[in-house]
């Protein structure tokens, strides 16, 4: 307990002294998340790797259409100091370009290819980030962008089975009706994202 907290302290100290952090978020004693400027990311990764965060667990990405950004999340792991670090940075959504980090973490090569496939983020420096990795012969926009409509794609590509009539029957018993109603309201209330 004590030890892990000290890990987090050590980490915050390390990061704050060398970079200007946009935001720091201590999720719990084993997870810390730093938001950085795009230019600081490489330096931060090098620092952390030297500090013992030798494992690049994953490179994830989040699409924020309304602020027109794509957020890249580099997840690092240290086996001496049990803390997962998320290095987050936002790149422009219209032309997302992030220099590759395969010189720091060679294992990131395939994560970057995957990220290009699903979000369209370009990684100059990675020799073959444009090669297809998972989606074989994909012919549409990157499928994990928020504005990609999987339903439309599925309707376009895959033939649906037609049914003569709609088999959905709603029984009119009251208790069932109430249940349905409150389920509907709860679903509505969850739309905004804030909890009740």
């Amino acid at each position: 307990m004590m030890n892990s907290m000290s890990n987090v302290e050590f980490l915050k100290a390390l990061m704050t002294q060398s970079f200007k952090l946009v935001e720091t978020d201590v999720i719990d004693q084993y997870q810390v998340s730093f938001v950085l400027k795009q230019d600081d990311v490489h330096q931060a990764l090098i620092t952390l790797k030297n500090a013992g965060w030798i494992q690049m667990s994953y490179l994830s990405a989040i699409d924020w259409p309304d602020e027109n950004k794509i957020e890249l999340v580099y997840i690092l792991m240290n086996w001496e100091r049990p803390v997962h670090i998320q290095i987050r940075t936002k790149v422009d959504r219209n032309d997302p370009v992030m220099p590759s980090i395969i010189n720091i973490y060679p294992g990131a090569k395939y994560y970057e290819r995957e990220c290009y496939e699903f979000f369209g983020v370009k990684f100059p420096g990675n020799p073959d980030y444009e090669k297809q990795l998972i989606l074989e012969v994909w012919d549409d926009m990157p499928p994990l962008r928020k504005d990609f409509d999987p339903k439309a794609y599925s309707d376009k590509k895959f033939t649906k089975r037609e049914y003569k009539e709609d088999y959905l029957v709603l029984s009119e018993q009251n208790n069932k009706k109430e249940k349905r109603e409150e389920r509907k309201t709860r679903a509505e209330s969850l739309k905004g994202g804030q909890k009740i």
């Binding site: 090669k131 297809q132 989606l135 074989e136 012969v137 012919d139 549409d140 499928p143 990609f148 999987p150 339903k151 794609y153 599925s154 590509k157 895959f158 033939t159 649906k160 089975r161």
Partner: protein, 192 residues
């Protein structure tokens, strides 16, 4: 007085002989069905109880087989992503005739809960002919066994002829596969 003229037995035409042989073959085929389990999705979990002592599948003469060459049934258990559909088609074309396809679960029927996914196909029988569907998400083991018994019945009444349909409407199936998959055989760095 009744005439005792000897009337020779009618000579069977070649088609009739072939049909008789085919019926004899059908008897053997429906009593020893070997499956190639393409465990694509979650419905595969229903097969262990079907094979082990709960519902002993071997009593119907059925059993799992290692390769498509040896198998009679191609068992599509669960949702079928686009990538695995390519492999399924490749496997199906390697099987020896006559061959049957059984689709487990609702995903091969109409996409099931993945009906709007960009990676999962919705209707299997557009791409390869399916002889028996077992509906349900997931179908419980009785219905799985029942599906196999139904397949045997179809073989008995000669309605399980999906492989014939596939040969006859080959272009149609190929067109659907092209439309959904782009190309079936993949060339890339992982397959050279």
């Amino acid at each position: 007085m009744k005439s005792t003229k000897f009337t020779p037995a009618r000579k069977l035409s070649k088609e009739e002989v072939d049909r008789k042989w085919w019926e004899i073959g059908d008897f053997f085929r429906r009593n020893s069905l070997w499956m190639l389990m393409y465990c694509t999705g979650c419905c595969a979990i229903e097969l262990p109880p079907a094979m082990t002592s709960a519902y002993d599948m071997e009593r119907l003469g059925m059993g799992p087989m290692a390769t498509p060459r040896q198998a009679d049934i191609l068992l599509i258990s669960g949702y079928l992503s686009v990538k695995s559909l390519r492999r399924v088609i490749y496997t199906y074309e390697q099987m020896g005739e006559p061959k049957y396809v059984v689709g487990l679960g609702s995903c091969p029927i109409n996409g099931g809960i993945y009906h709007d996914s960009h990676a999962v196909i919705n209707q299997l029988d557009q791409y390869i002919p399916v002889d028996t569907y077992v509906a349900g998400c997931m179908p419980n083991t009785e219905s799985v066994m029942n599906g196999f018994v139904d397949l045997m019945e179809q073989i008995r009444n000669k309605t399980a002829n999906g492989w014939v349909k596939y040969k006859e409407n080959y272009e149609w199936y190929k067109k659907n596969q092209k439309a959904a998959l782009g190309e079936v055989i993949i060339h890339d760095e992982f397959h050279e």
